[in-house]
């Protein structure tokens, strides 16, 4: 019998197929542990069909679409399983939109989107894997996307 690296959860979300080594960034995006009291389990460098991957399990919390968009930015191949009473109630892949609004701040300190104007940051997705995005306003392409997530 295949040994489970981490225990199943009763209710919550399992984020699977995170690129190996990126689980910590996913936790950062979800505001864990600061803004959450959920129990979180992390497995890193788990062997899978497609090489190594990370898995994150968050108990008693179902992720909303806004959080999924954020995860897509750093783990474009991730799958999200919503667990209810030990069963997979919903399963979907994260999907990166053509445009990202209000999620990442521009790395250019003199970009107009970093001033007190009534606009949200806006990026055009140039490539999905690896992710390459360009600021709609100043056209700068940030390299440290995970660090710039709002």
């Amino acid at each position: 019998m295949k040994e489970l690296k981490i225990q199943p959860i009763k209710n919550g979300t399992v984020i699977d197929h995170i690129n190996a080594g990126n689980a910590v960034k996913v936790l950062h995006i979800l505001g864990i542990p600061k803004s959450s009291s959920s129990i979180v389990s992390v497995a890193m460098n788990v062997k899978s069909k497609y090489g190594k991957k990370d898995i994150v399990k968050v108990e008693n919390r179902e992720l909303d679409p806004y959080e999924l968009d954020k995860i897509a930015l750093i783990a474009p191949k991730a799958t999200i399983n919503i667990i209810r009473d030990y069963e997979v109630a919903e399963k979907h892949k994260v999907k990166l939109s053509k445009e990202i609004t209000g999620i990442v701040s521009c790395s250019n300190p003199t970009c107009i989107s970093n001033s007190k104007e009534p606009v949200k940051s806006r990026f055009i997705v140039l490539k999905k894997d690896p992710i390459q995005i360009k600021c709609y306003y100043c056209e700068r392409e940030p390299e440290d996307i995970a660090e710039r997530i709002i």
């Binding site: 250019n108 003199t110 970009c111 107009i112 989107s113 001033s115 007190k116 104007e117 009534p118 606009v119 600021c135 709609y136 306003y137 100043c138 056209e139 700068r140 392409e141």
Partner: protein, 309 residues
């Protein structure tokens, strides 16, 4: 080709076909730009010029262009005398200009400001320079100058020299010249090299720029020498500026071994990078280049206003 209502934010918003159309149309407008011919095609129309940064040529040539087309100009050149000083957002200032005029021209120190202005304005917005970002009408007039002087842009040997890192005109120009498959040489001090992403864009368009710090060698077979000022205001660090200012000086001695029909261009203002002794030589084209701002801006203003002479 229909440009009515189009914003002009970046040269990249235009295809090569569209650029060619605008350059050819601009050529037709030269006698109008000189005042030899006159048509009141924009009578009753108002242009707003919102200049949050100093400008001489860009603002005056826009004003001249609108006047030569029969329209009127309102605006400011000193943001200190506007509600910006009271903390008004750019978005609100643009909303006002939008309700007072038929076209907005904006220069702003922050990159992306013109794109933001276009979001809040119903009327067309023309970017007259946004920080170290884009300056598409300068790019149009530079292309126009090469096009009118050399009869074509393709295949010319073009050398860009000076501050290629912070200089906003050279980034768009390198991209636009690559659309025309020119031979491109980039000459700068090591610390002011052209950003990687611009080089990548040139390569994607099939042009492999030659990067060097040796100007003498680079201008040997050049048809166009495009000189830029090392801009003190763009340097984050005064020490970095002091180390590179005055690296390249264009003088008669340097030009002695160049092609007879080499043209020397400069977006101006210049400081010491071109010796005034060059002004009287047949190579000096920078003042004519500055004049070209009028016909090309007349072309852009009239096209986005939906009229053509």
């Amino acid at each position: 080709m229909n440009f009515q209502g189009k914003d002009i934010i970046s040269i990249k918003d235009f295809s090569k076909k569209e650029i060619n159309y605008i350059l050819n149309y601009g050529k037709k407008l030269i006698p109008y730009a000189k005042g030899e011919k006159f048509k009141n095609v924009l009578k009753g129309k108002v242009l707003s010029t919102l200049f949050f940064e100093p400008s001489t040529r860009t603002r005056l040539s826009f004003e001249s262009a609108m006047s030569r087309l029969g329209g009127k100009v309102i605006g400011f050149a000193d943001p200190g005398a506007t509600s910006q000083k009271k903390g008004e957002s750019l978005a609100d200032t643009v909303r006002m200009a939008d309700s007072y005029s038929d076209l907005i021209v904006i220069r702003h120190p922050k990159e992306g400001a013109a794109r933001l202005a276009a979001e809040f304005a119903e009327v067309p917005v023309i970017n007259a320079g946004d920080g170290a970002g884009r300056h598409p009408t300068q790019c149009f007039l530079d292309l126009f100058t090469i096009f009118t002087e050399k009869k074509k842009i393709e295949k010319n040997n073009v050398v860009l020299v000076g501050d290629l890192k912070y200089g906003r005109t050279v980034h768009s120009l390198a991209y636009a010249l690559s659309l025309y498959n020119v031979n491109l040489s980039l000459v700068s001090p090591n610390t002011l090299k052209m950003p990687k992403e611009v080089i990548e864009e040139c390569k994607e368009l099939g042009v492999e720029p030659n990067q060097t710090s040796n100007l003498e060698k680079a201008i040997k077979d050049a048809d166009v020498l495009y000189v830029t000022r090392i801009q003190k205001e763009r340097f984050p660090d005064a020490e970095e500026y002091n180390q590179v200012v005055g690296t390249y000086k264009i003088d008669k001695e340097l030009l002695k071994n160049s092609n007879e029909d080499l043209i020397v261009m400069h977006p101006l203002p210049r400081l010491t990078e071109i010796n005034p002794e060059v002004d009287k030589t047949s190579h000096a084209l920078y003042f004519k280049q500055a004049f070209n701002g009028v016909p090309i801006r007349m072309a852009l203003i009239s096209l986005v206003s939906g009229v053509e002479l």
